[in-house]
């Protein structure tokens, strides 16, 4: 692998008494898509939420180890979490548009970062929506409520919302699990496009999806990162028996 953008070293996380992440060490390559797969409760989402410190919002979580982003440890207490989350955006499992208009949803991010010029905002909204392949569907109703969109459109809106603050990394937590196959296909195409400009880390239950969209895949099981390699290697020549069993559907 070449120069990594994120590197986790000996990352451990406890939730209450539960040792949810155990000694995770991994390097994420820039402008590639990395998939995290594994059975439910293996810690994929927890790991993902470490990368932008979303776990801070949950009580009784204890973390040690380090995660370096652009050379600085984001787990250290003096990290500017707000700035970190601008750099590392996140798309959630269920679409969570704000109860505002489509335009306001996209403009929200730039606004909180201090952009108030109407023209500039217009440009950002248009660019983000186009980038998220949603512009053609919504350009004539930008000021209607985002809650009137379909689930797939809402999820692309959430992606556009993330793009509007120009992050370096985009975390996706099972972005398609609440969507139908057609909407899923659209999101997958979108991910394919996104990796030209962004580093994408995606958590998914769906192994075919991981195989289709990612360059690297990590297989997690019971809080451990069992195997992490290029997607082709993981799916065609896994080194661990556990990985092979999971990939071939013998458990999980």
């Amino acid at each position: 692998m070449s120069e990594s953008i994120i590197s986790a070293k000996n990352l451990n996380l406890w939730y209450h008494e539960k040792h949810a992440l155990q000694n995770i060490t991994m390097e994420i390559e820039p402008k590639k898509t990395t998939a995290l797969i594994g059975p439910s409760g293996c810690g994929k989402s927890t790991l993902l939420r470490c990368f932008n410190r979303m776990n801070d919002l949950i009580n009784e979580v204890k973390i040690d180890g380090e995660i370096c982003l652009d050379g600085s440890n984001i787990l250290s207490p003096d990290t500017d979490v707000v700035a970190l989350r601008k750099k590392v955006g996140m798309v959630f499992q269920r679409p969570n548009p704000f109860p505002k208009s489509i335009y306001e949803n996209i403009a929200y991010g730039p606004r909180v970062h201090g952009i108030n010029d109407r023209k500039e905002l217009d440009a950002i909204v248009e660019k983000s929506l186009k980038h998220a392949a949603l512009w053609d569907e919504v350009c004539d109703r930008l000021h209607e409520s985002a809650l009137g969109l379909s689930g797939g459109q809402q999820q692309r809106l959430c992606i556009a919302r993330t793009l509007a603050v120009e992050p370096e990394v985009i975390l996706m937590d099972e972005p398609c699990s609440a969507l139908d196959p057609i909407a899923t296909a659209k999101i997958e195409n979108l991910i394919e496009m996104l990796k030209m400009d962004y580093t994408v880390i995606i958590v998914t239950h769906n192994m075919q999806q991981a195989a289709r969209v990612s360059d690297y895949t990590g297989f997690m099981y019971l809080g451990k990162l069992i195997e992490y390699d290029s997607t082709t290697t993981i799916f065609e020549h896994p080194k661990q028996d556990l990985t092979e069993n999971y990939i071939t559907g013998r458990f999980g």
Binding site: K86, N96, R111
Partner: protein, 473 residues
């Protein structure tokens, strides 16, 4: 409030239960009510607290004879309540005398009684909540599930017994006893012999009866006031100051005074209450401190309004030397409605999905930005509801303002915050108790007060709906 608690039970529960072939009553009694139990219990606590602390309504009908009923269970004997004593005598004693201090003693006793009622209710509430969660939580528990179950059964019986006693006391005399007895007999012996379809019908019948009784009471009160009050209503009545001790003339200063009091109270209470609620929900983590604050707010909520009045009288009016004034009344009412505003704001903030907060934070918004533009706007209808409830309550309260803000008769409107005002509920109270021969104006005042309160409610509901529509876009 019970309705809120019941309707907040997720629809899935209902469908899940009906889907396994339970009858509607079985669904209600085994699934929905247990899930809504904490809300219902909270409603009952508030109800009891309110009943103990009520001054004015009790003052008018209990007779105020300082005697013990003889025999003690004679519910037709006149009695005197703690609140009544305070309400009557406080206005007549000199500040600083023995009598004055004795009245504060009475207030302390009253406060302690309500504190005990409320605190034990809060305890029961927490206990029920913990009991329900204990199966899931991994936290240390020295009570085994069996013991817990047994305790819960005992508690339920204690509650039921308390309920039965209260029922016996407040029920319209002995007429209802046979009904209760029949219900008890049915509960113990008849249960097995009645099929589930019959019990479905019986339960449905009882529920309908309860609703009819509630509506009947409401209709009865309304028609009494409207029929008697309508003749008094005229343009002069609404725009003239009173004359001849309120027997003639109008109630204009009282209307304006109430308006001033209520608006001032809400202006003071809303920022403080919303601020406290936002802090509790958004900035703190659940822990002993937030529990303490919450219990404090609950207890404050159950504190009798006359105690607020007394406190404000000694602290604001006398110690801070505000005098009997509009401002003192506004502050007193604000203190009284503060807990309601805090709790309702808290509830509406909690109902905003966590995913919206996460979505905003994940974009790199600060916590305050998130609260300001994502969490608060959809919570506004709920906050307004809380303000409505408290507005209505503040408008109708007499006890907190009778020593702090009002005079019975004033020909002029107040020109500053430090002058006393007239207020509708106090005017009504005096007309009803101290001025013979003011029957027409009395009912007229009651009607105006009623319309006033209903008006507040409907305006606020309109505002709320407007907001709700705007958010849906």
């Amino acid at each position: 409030m019970s309705e809120d608690a019941i309707s907040s039970v997720p629809h899935e529960f209902r469908e899940g239960s009906l889907a396994v072939g339970a009858t509607r009553w079985e669904t209600i009694s085994r699934v929905i009510v247990p899930a809504a139990l904490s809300g219902i219990a909270a409603a009952i606590i508030l109800g009891i607290g309110r009943a103990i602390g009520e001054t004015m309504a009790v003052l008018m009908v209990t007779g105020n004879a300082a005697i013990l009923p003889d025999p003690i269970w004679n519910v037709l004997s006149p009695i005197r309540t703690l609140t009544g004593t305070l309400g009557i005598e406080m206005g007549e004693v000199s500040v600083g005398g023995d009598h004055y201090h004795a009245l504060f003693g009475v207030a302390v006793v009253l406060l302690i009684i309500t504190l005990i009622v409320n605190l034990s209710a809060v305890r029961i509430l927490n206990y029920l909540n913990e009991g329900r969660n204990s199966r899931k939580s991994t936290g240390p528990s020295f009570l085994s599930p069996q013991v817990l179950d047994k305790l819960r059964t005992i508690l339920t019986w204690v509650l039921a017994a308390a309920g039965a006693i209260i029922l016996c006391i407040i029920a319209p005399l002995w007429i209802s006893l046979p009904v209760i007895a029949a219900a008890a007999v049915w509960y113990f012996y008849g249960r097995q012999r009645i099929t589930r379809y019959q019990s479905e019908k019986i339960a449905f019948g009882l529920l309908v009866t309860a609703s009819v009784i509630v509506i009947a009471i409401l209709v009865f009160i309304l028609q009494d006031i409207v029929i008697n009050g309508l003749p008094a209503l005229s343009w002069e009545f609404l725009t003239q100051p009173p004359s001849d001790l309120g027997r003639a003339g109008g109630i204009f200063p009282a209307i304006i005074g109430t308006l001033y009091l209520v608006c001032g109270a809400i202006l003071i209470a809303l920022p403080i209450g919303v601020g406290a609620a936002v802090y509790l929900v958004e900035y703190t983590r659940e822990g002993p401190i937030t529990r303490l604050i919450r219990t404090g707010v609950d207890l404050l909520n159950g504190t009798p309004s006359i105690v607020f009045g007394l406190f404000a009288f000694s602290f604001i009016v006398i110690y801070l030397n505000f005098g009997v004034s509009l401002l003192a009344g506004q502050i007193t009412l604000a203190l009284m409605v503060l807990p309601t505003i805090i709790r309702t704001t808290e509830e509406s903030l909690k109902s905003i999905p966590q995913s919206l907060r996460e979505g905003s934070l994940a974009l790199g918004a600060t916590r305050w930005q998130t609260i300001k533009s994502v969490v608060l706007p959809p919570a506004v209808p709920g906050i307004i509801t809380g303000a409505i409830l408290s507005l209505g309550r503040a408008a109708g309260e007499t006890a907190p303002i009778m020593f702090t803000a009002v005079v019975f008769s004033s020909r002029f409107l107040p020109t500053s915050l430090f002058q006393p005002v007239m207020a509708l509920p106090y005017h009504l109270f005096i007309l009803a108790t101290n001025i013979p021969g003011a029957s027409v104006n009395k009912y007229g005042t009651a009607l105006v007060l009623l319309i006033f309160v209903v008006g507040i409610y409907s305006v606020a509901i309109l505002v709320r709906n407007h907001y709700a529509n705007k958010i849906r876009g």
